[in-house]
């Protein structure tokens, strides 16, 4: 396992080995948390589309494209723990976050959706079809998930890398 070494030259003392082990432990827990969030997002979005039959609009699909791979990437980054996972996961999460924010702005009407002809099976991205607890919309949940993953990954990078 490529544990980040804190010792530069010479034999590492017991305390530095301990510190390194703690960092590895923390890194694992945080990446695991990222995996949990991504998995909940995966199952949640599938619940909306497959069980509740809410058709995903185009912007939803773009967010799914950047969320679903994270489930696999994080899982493989956990066994064995490979903090290099940040390098691959962070860009996906940031791009997905961008789509989520854009979707939220379309949803709330800050960005007007261009008028398009109705097509068979076409779903409007600005139509609000679900509000949990009276205020929680799907794009909002998407923003929260992507944001949480981004924050956790940044914490991992700050805390667990030298």
């Amino acid at each position: 396992m490529n544990e980040p070494s804190t010792a530069i030259g010479g034999s590492p003392s017991d305390s530095t080995i301990e510190q390194a082990a703690e960092k590895v432990q923390l890194g694992w827990v945080l990446v695991f948390a990222c995996w949990l969030i991504a998995t909940v997002a995966l199952l949640g979005s599938l619940f909306f589309s497959e069980i509740m039959n809410l058709q995903p609009c185009v912007l939803c699909w773009y967010q799914r494209i950047f969320m679903y791979p994270l489930v696999v990437i994080f899982l493989f980054g956990l066994f064995p723990l490979d903090l290099g996972v940040i390098r691959y996961a962070l860009p996906l999460a940031v791009i997905g976050w961008g789509f989520a924010v854009f979707h939220y702005l379309v949803y709330t009407g800050y960005i007007p959706e261009s008028i398009q002809p109705c097509t068979q099976g076409g779903v409007s991205c600005s139509e609000i079809n679900l509000e949990l607890l009276g205020f929680m919309t799907i794009p909002m949940m998407s923003i929260l998930s992507f944001s949480a993953i981004i924050v956790l990954l940044i914490v991992v990078r700050k805390r667990c890398f030298q």
Partner: protein, 216 residues
């Protein structure tokens, strides 16, 4: 290793919650659709709607259909097959649910053909030529006239009838009913007022069978 257990347990828990929520949600949907259909029971099979089979049959299949819908086309011969299995015991009532663009035109054409006693012939012809007039993205319902050669329809009379208040009113009532009942998919079946919960030919057959056994 302990950590892999954590991930396995978390996965089982999450998938379990997903499946549990799905079951609960679907049960709610079923009881909701049963409540709706009992609320609309009296209006399900109105007098004016096209009917196939013995009018005195004690089992009634109500089908909300769209002439541009491929699944309706596939189901049409299957439903007729079910009628043939129970001669005199089951009848079929057709209600319009024109969900596709252009279907509203074809639906009024069907209603006009019904006045000439040519509903079923016209419907079969419309299904047979469906790919020619109901292309997704570019439906051309007016082409259907050219494809109705085998149906001896009085064109002039039918075209006038399509604008008549009687035709428009029947179509309007069907559309109002399917909207109020929240029907968003075609075909949607009811057998003696009971909704077909799980979609498919076999479920429909067994629902009809159960109703026939109950009624006779």
């Amino acid at each position: 290793m302990k950590k892999s257990y954590i991930v396995v347990i978390a996965t089982i828990l999450l998938v379990g919650v997903f499946v549990g929520a799905a079951v609960v949600y679907q049960q709610q949907q079923v009881s909701e659709s049963k409540a709706i259909s009992s609320q609309f029971a009296a209006r399900l099979a109105p007098e004016y709607a096209a009917t196939m089979g013995d009018p005195n049959a004690r089992v009634t299949i109500v089908e909300f259909f769209d002439p541009a819908c491929e699944t309706c086309k596939v189901f049409h011969p299957l439903v007729k097959q079910i009628l043939n299995e129970y001669p005199g015991q089951v009848r079929l009532v057709m209600r319009y649910a024109p969900l596709h663009t252009g279907s509203d035109y074809v639906v009024s054409l069907l209603e006009a053909a019904k006045q000439q006693g040519k509903f079923w012939e016209t419907l079969e012809a419309a299904y047979d030529s469906q790919s020619k007039w109901a292309a997704h993205g570019n439906p051309q319902p007016k082409r259907l006239w050219m494809l109705l050669e085998d149906v001896n329809l009085d064109w002039k009379k039918a075209q006038d009838a399509m604008q008549s208040p009687a035709v428009l009113e029947n179509v309007r009532r069907d559309i109002a009913d399917h909207r109020q009942m929240g029907i968003s998919k075609t075909p949607t079946f009811f057998v003696n007022g009971k909704p077909l919960v799980q979609f498919g030919y076999e479920p429909l057959r067994s629902l009809v069978e159960a109703q026939v056994r109950e009624a006779y």
